[in-house]
Chain length 326, copies 2
């Protein structure tokens, strides 16, 4: 990763660490400091800085505003973890496990309000309405995506286009907003605002497809969680959706056997489903889909009216993320 970007992340983290959020009652504010301190790439505020630097020389000046998207993102994680009954987040106990559901609900609610406070405190007044309208739309879409994802668990069949739409809502639009946010703070070119948003959405869909791939094909030594976790849990990822669509004959029977199997050996299931994926060329198909979205994102970047050298910073960063784990 390039040195400037490393410095941006350090600065973002230092602003987050200085943010105290509140004191009393401590059951409300300790969970907020806890989840915000669990780390992560700080990808979303970083994207706001990266789009801002396309037009301005001092991207660190938007850090306070950009922290709003990180607070919002962690609000969604806190509430999603309750809904998904997840025990761990970034290797640590989730808030609803460490405390309880009511604390996680209420601390999350406060975080959502804090995200608005952060925007309102650090956004110039003449841009506030536009930023808030776009943030509201994005926030609602993220909730819609989470609900659609939960609905998928109950559905027998999920179509590829519905899946792409779900990940667009659940994860990609927030990357779109984060990039557009930095652009709005930097300048008034609406065409560029739209391109920044589209770039974030396209890259976000690409990154989610990459996550789906990594869950099956990552190097276990480098991967933070269990490789094959999605297969074990029958998670309806792009890979499984394509496999169900394409499998016929023996593959279809075997896939359906493993999807309905109870009390199986985990490694055996992962190997067996992976063999079906290999037979159906699922890895290549997913990579193609993913690369289509990355290409769209790079095309959006190219169309943006900013100096090439500045655009290269974003291109290099995306390429770093794309190549890092493959």
């Amino acid at each position: 990763m390039n040195q400037a970007i490393k410095e941006y992340i350090v600065s973002i983290n230092s602003v987050i660490e200085q943010e105290h959020f509140g004191n009393n009652p401590r059951e409300l504010y300790e969970p907020i400091r806890y989840i915000m301190s669990l780390g992560g790439k700080r990808m979303r505020p970083l994207l706001s800085l990266l789009s801002y630097q396309l037009y301005k020389d001092s991207p660190k000046e938007v850090i306070p505003a950009s922290v709003a998207v990180e607070i919002f993102h962690n609000f969604t994680l806190m509430h999603d973890d309750i809904m998904d009954k997840a025990p761990l987040r970034r290797g640590q106990q989730t808030v609803h496990k460490k405390w309880n559901d009511p604390v996680a609900i209420l601390s999350g609610d406060v975080m959502l309000v804090k995200a608005y406070q952060q925007i309102i405190a650090h956004c110039p007044k003449d841009k506030l309405t536009e930023v808030l309208e776009k943030f509201n739309k994005c926030a609602i879409e993220v909730c819609e995506g989470q609900q659609i994802d939960m609905n998928f668990e109950e559905q027998e069949e999920v179509h590829e286009t519905d899946y792409i739409e779900m990940i667009r809502l659940k994860t990609a639009v927030l990357l779109g907003f984060s990039l557009e946010f930095g652009g709005i703070l930097a300048m008034d070119n609406e065409a560029d605002h739209a391109l920044l948003y589209q770039m974030g959405v396209n890259a976000g869909i690409g990154f989610q497809l990459m996550d789906d791939l990594l869950d099956v094909y990552a190097d276990q030594a480098k991967f933070g969680k269990q490789v094959g976790g999605d297969i074990i849990a029958n998670k309806k990822t792009y890979l499984l959706i394509k496999a169900k669509e394409l499998a016929s004959g023996e593959n279809s029977i075997k896939l359906s056997h493993w999807l309905n199997a109870k009390g199986f050996d985990k490694d055996e299931k992962v190997s067996a489903v992976k063999a079906i994926y290999d037979d159906l060329n699922i890895k290549k198909l997913t990579e193609n889909k993913m690369n289509q979205y990355f290409e769209k994102a790079f095309q959006n970047l190219e169309d943006i009216d900013a100096p090439s050298a500045k655009k290269l910073v974003i291109k290099d960063f995306f390429n770093y993320l794309i190549n890092r784990e493959q």
Copy 2:
């Protein structure tokens, strides 16, 4: 209730009914329409209209903006009902019972964003920052109040001043914001904004003390829920807090017996605790406290720089609420 106020409520309800909130996924939007259609007095938007009419002749023009506080209020009810495991709300199933916890969490989250959308769409740009800053503060305080209320359940002793502070946060500040909101939309006199807010907070504390009283002393024929419900549940209301503070000798032993009793006869417990309250003059003490807050609220109203005839509308409405159920 005066005819103008009845008309305001009809108009507020008609705007709420026309609001569709969203379509897809339906698991997210049906619960919002459901809880918003359960009715209630629409007290909070009504307060915005009542403060607006102090200065302007057409209070109905702030209905769209005022609906934001009703959406916010119902968001808090939806999430509180999950935390309190409440089965019923206004005689109907709560959202988390009718659907499930994840749906109630996520629909509530969307409602909080919708409250912001409603403010941003219907608030003049030059007042937006002020309104949002005050709304954010209020929203956070309401969450703090709910957490403190939950903490009280685990605490052996709660002091009177802590209880008043809890109800100020949990319920009164939103009435304060609702009144101030209408004032901000109508005019720029900051002294009046502050008085409207204070009036709402004082009246809100008074109304909560009235609720505490009614739960014990209401006429069962007129009361919507079981009289004595708070006694049965050992709810730390103002009455119980004062009784614990003042009880000595036999009363103290009896009160502690009933607070620790398992498998009791409900009517017997209600009668017995009521007898202790009567012996300690708790009803009168609570009424005095309540009336102090109502008097403060009326003093705030008197200090406001608006025509007496317009102020009388608010005074009459508060008196109607105060006398209705006693």
